[in-house]
C-alpha cells in the first residue's frame, strides 16, 4: 500500500537537516520542511547551526517553498537565559515557520520578542491528555507535539478535542526515553580509567542484564546523556488515520543511515510501499500506540 493513496494531505513531513546541500534532495522527495537545530540550545542531534548560518539556509528554504522549524531542545538553566534572550532577539529578524522547544522557558522568553505564536511545545513526555493543551493554547503558542508514550486512542482524543492550534507527532525514528544532565558515558570512562571520549557517537548502546540481546541506543553530548527505545518507531498504519488531522509529522534522524532515512521519507511520503520499507528494516515497532502502561509504584516526589 502507498500512503499517498490515503486521505487528504494537510500534514507537513519534517526532518532534520544536516547540510544545506540536502535541501534539494529533500525537496525532490517531497519533504515539506526541515528542523534546524540551533547551536548552544540543541541536543541529541548530529548537526546544529549557528544563528548567523541560519540566515542563508532559511533563504534557500524559502526559495524552495519549504517550511523551516528551529529546534531548541535543551533544558534551560539560569545561566542560559541571557544567551537565549540574545539568540531569540537575533532570530526575530529571520523568517521561519516555527520554534520547536523542549523546555517551556523558550516560550516565555519568546513572548518578549513577539515570537510566542511560533512556539511548538515538544517536551517529549507531558503532553499526555486532552485538557493541558487548552492551557498552552491560551498562552498563545503555535501548537504542541503530543507525548511519545501515550496510546493511539489518546492521541486521537487529544487531536479531536484540541483547541484551534497545531498538533504534531514525533512519529518515526528512534525516540528518546531518558535525558539526564549527567555525562554518563564520560563518567563511566573516567571510572574505568579509559581515555577515549565517547561523546557524540551514534554507535553505542546499553544492554539490560536481565534481558540480554535487547540494546538501547545511548548518546552523550555537552548537554548530557540520552537513552532511546530499543526499536525505532514507525507509524505507517496510524498515518492513514492521522494525516488529515496532524499539522507536522516529525521524522527523527539520529541513528539512521542516510540511506535508511531517505527510504523512510519515501515510504512516509507515499513514494514507495511502506511494507517494502518494513521488510527491509525490521527494527521498527509501533511504540506505545497499543501498549498500555500501568501505575504500580514509584515516582520521584
Amino acid at each position: 500500500m502507498y500512503l499517498s493513496e490515503t486521505a487528504v494531505i494537510s500534514m507537513q513531513v519534517i526532518t532534520h537537516l544536516y547540510d544545506p546541500k540536502e535541501i534539494q534532495h529533500f525537496k525532490e522527495l517531497g519533504v515539506h520542511g526541515v528542523l534546524l537545530p540551533v547551536s548552544s540550545f540543541s541536543t541529541a542531534v548530529q548537526k546544529s547551526f549557528q544563528v548567523m548560518e541560519l540566515s542563508s539556509i532559511l533563504d534557500i528554504l524559502r526559495e524552495q517553498e519549504m517550511h523551516s522549524y528551529l529546534l531548541l531542545n535543551t533544558v534551560i538553566y539560569e545561566h542560559d537565559l541571557s544567551l537565549l534572550e540574545e539568540t531569540l532577539r537575533q532570530l526575530k529578524e529571520y523568517s521561519f515557520d516555527g520554534i520547536v522547544c523542549f523546555d517551556y522557558t523558550v516560550a516565555i522568553v519568546a513572548k518578549k520578542y513577539n515570537l510566542i505564536h511560533k512556539i511548538i511545545y515538544q517536551p517529549g513526555t507531558q503532553n499526555t491528555n486532552l485538557f493541558d493543551p487548552h492551557y498552552f493554547y491560551e498562552q498563545g503558542i503555535k501548537g504542541i507535539t503530543v507525548s511519545r508514550e501515550i496510546p493511539f486512542e489518546d492521541i486521537m482524543a487529544i487531536i479531536l478535542h484540541a483547541p484551534d492550534f497545531e498538533i504534531s507527532l514525533q512519529g518515526h525514528g528512534y525516540l528518546e526515553m531518558f535525558y539526564s544532565a549527567r555525562e554518563l558515558l564520560t563518567l563511566y570512562q573516567e571510572y574505568k580509567h579509559q581515555p577515549i571520549s565517547l561523546k557524540q557517537q551514534t554507535s553505542l548502546s546499553i544492554e539490560e542484564e536481565i534481558r540480554p540481546g535487547l540494546h538501547y541506543p545511548i548518546y552523550e553530548d555537552e548537554h548530557g546523556t540520552h537513552i532511546f527505545r530499543p526499536k525505532a518507531l514507525q507509524s505507517f498504519q496510524e498515518l492513514i488515520v492521522l494525516r488529515p488531522y496532524l499539522n507536522q509529522f516529525f521524522v527523527s534522524r539520529l541513528f539512521l543511515s542516510d540511506e535508511e532515512h531517505t527510504h523512510a521519507l519515501e515510504a512516509i511520503l507515499g513514494r514507495t510501499p511502506y511494507q517494502s520499507f518494513l521488510d527491509q528494516y525490521p527494527h521498527y515497532d509501533s511504540g506505545f500506540y497499543y501498549k498500555k502502561t500501568s501505575q504500580l509504584k514509584g515516582g520521584s516526589e
Binding site: 538553566y77 531518558f178 535525558y179 571510572y191 539490560e208 501505575q295 515516582g299
Partner: protein, 395 residues
C-alpha cells in the same frame, strides 16, 4: 529572615506522625488519587483529614501531592477531589499538570506548589508560574547552589529544594525508561527504577564494559554540609525525599536535619561529623551532595554491584509505657532477642541505651526472641519512654 521549613515525606499516617514528632515543620503525602508514588499514596480523604488535624494541633502543615502527569482517563472527579481537600484544610497541593493547576486555582482557594516534575531550573520559568498563581516552586534537582542563589535573587515565588534522599538521574518528568522496560508509567506513579538496573555498554558489536558494570544510577542525596548556604540563599523549604521509606529512616533523617538547622540558627553547630554519623545510621544507599556543587563527577555515581544494602538494626517502635510496672510495650519491626542492647531514638532527648533482660508476648508468655513482624512485646525498662520512640539494636 524567616526560618527555613523542614519538609518530610510520609507514606502513611504513622510516618506522618513520626515525621512531625521528630521535627518536620511540614509533611507531603499522596492521596489515593492524582499522586505519583502509587504504592506510597495510600491516604484516603479520611486519613488526610486525620493527618491534617494532627499536624495543625502541632502548628505544622500538610501538603498533598497531586503531581501525576495525567492521561485522559486519570482526570475524572478532579474538581470534586480538590474541593474536598480544600474543605479538609490542607495547607497546599503540589502539582505538575497545567490543567490540575488551573482547576485548583479557579475552583478552590488551595495554595498550589509546582512539582519538581516540571524541572524548573531558571527564574524566567519560575516567575511565569508565579504569575499564574503558584506560590512555591520545587526546583529541579539539577540546580547547583550557585544557580539556586541566582534564581532566588530574581524569584517572586518561594523556593523548595531537595536536600536528602533518592535522585532521579533523568530530568524529572522526562523519563520513560520504566514505561519501555517495565510497562509502568513513571509519570503516573509507576516508576520501576530501571535506572538502578545493571547494564553492559556496547559499541556496535564490541563490548566496552566489564560485563554488566555500566550504571546509570546516582548515589542518594545528603546535603548536611550545604544546608548553611541553602539557608543563607533564602530557600523557603528544605525537602527530604522518600515517601516509601521506613519510619526509622524518617525519624533519623528528620531529627538529624532538625537538630542541624536549629543548631545553625542558634550558632551552636557541632562538628559536621556528628550529624553525618547520626544520619548515616538511617541510610541504606551510598550518598553524595548530588549536583549542588555543580556538574556530576564519578563521586556522585553508583558503580558498585549493589545499590542498596539492608538496614536491619531498627527493631521496634514504642507504643506505650506502663510507669507503675516499668514495662515498655513495643511493636516489633525486626528480629531481636534477650541480651541485645537497644538504643532509643527519640525526638525528646539524647540517645539512651538499655539491655533487653526479659520480654513477654501478648499472651503473657516469656520470649527469648521477638521474631514476628508487628508482634507486640512487653519489655521491663526503667527509663520512661514515649509512643513513637524508636529502638535500634546496637549489639
Amino acid at each position: 529572615m524567616k526560618k527555613v521549613e523542614l519538609l518530610a515525606p510520609a507514606g502513611d499516617l504513622e510516618k506522618l506522625k513520626v515525621a512531625l514528632l521528630y521535627g518536620a515543620d511540614a509533611v507531603y503525602i499522596g492521596g489515593t488519587e492524582f499522586s505519583l508514588r502509587a504504592r506510597a499514596s495510600k491516604f484516603t480523604l479520611e486519613m488526610i483529614e486525620e493527618g491534617v488535624r494532627f499536624a495543625h494541633q502541632l502548628q505544622k502543615k500538610v501538603y498533598i501531592t497531586t503531581n501525576i502527569i495525567p492521561y485522559n482517563e486519570d482526570l475524572g472527579g478532579l474538581e470534586e477531589y480538590l474541593k474536598k481537600l480544600e474543605a479538609i484544610g490542607v495547607d497546599a497541593i503540589i502539582c505538575s499538570s497545567p490543567y490540575i493547576i488551573e482547576t485548583a486555582l479557579k475552583t478552590t482557594r488551595l495554595e498550589v506548589h509546582l512539582s519538581t516534575q516540571q524541572s524548573v531550573l531558571n527564574s524566567a520559568y519560575l516567575n511565569h508560574w508565579f504569575e499564574q498563581g503558584i506560590t512555591r516552586v520545587v526546583l529541579g534537582r539539577e540546580a547547583s547552589l550557585a544557580e539556586i542563589k541566582q534564581i532566588e535573587s530574581k524569584s517572586k515565588a518561594e523556593l523548595e529544594v531537595f536536600i536528602h534522599g533518592g535522585m532521579c538521574v533523568s530530568y524529572s518528568g522526562k523519563c520513560t525508561l520504566s514505561n519501555t522496560m517495565a510497562a509502568r508509567d513513571a509519570n503516573r506513579g509507576g516508576c520501576a527504577h530501571s535506572c538502578r538496573w545493571r547494564y553492559a555498554l556496547w559499541e556496535n558489536n564490541q563490548l566496552l564494559s566489564d560485563g554488566f558494570d555500566f550504571h546509570i544510577a546516582s548515589k542518594d542525596l545528603q546535603t548536611l554540609r550545604q544546608i548553611p548556604e541553602l539557608i543563607e540563599a533564602n530557600v523557603a523549604s528544605l525537602k527530604i525525599e522518600g515517601r516509601m521509606k521506613s519510619i526509622h529512616y524518617i525519624a533519623l533523617v528528620v531529627s538529624t536535619y532538625r537538630q542541624f538547622i536549629d543548631d545553625y540558627y542558634r550558632n551552636q553547630l557541632e562538628p559536621i561529623e556528628y550529624y553525618e554519623e547520626r544520619i548515616a545510621k538511617a541510610e541504606n544507599r551510598d550518598t553524595s551532595s548530588g549536583l549542588l556543587l555543580g556538574k556530576a563527577t564519578i563521586d556522585q555515581q553508583l558503580y558498585q554491584s549493589r545499590s542498596e544494602y539492608p538496614n536491619k538494626e531498627f527493631v521496634g517502635i514504642v507504643k506505650s509505657y506502663d510507669c507503675e510496672h516499668q514495662l515498655l510495650e513495643v511493636e516489633q519491626r525486626n528480629y531481636f532477642q534477650i541480651g541485645d542492647t537497644l538504643e532509643v531514638i527519640s525526638p525528646r532527648k539524647e540517645t539512651q541505651i538499655f539491655e533487653v533482660k526479659s520480654m513477654k508476648n501478648s499472651l503473657n508468655e516469656e520470649l527469648t526472641v521477638a521474631r514476628h513482624p508487628l508482634e507486640r512485646v512487653w519489655i521491663p525498662c526503667e527509663m520512661p519512654l514515649h509512643p513513637y520512640d524508636l529502638l535500634r539494636r546496637i549489639s
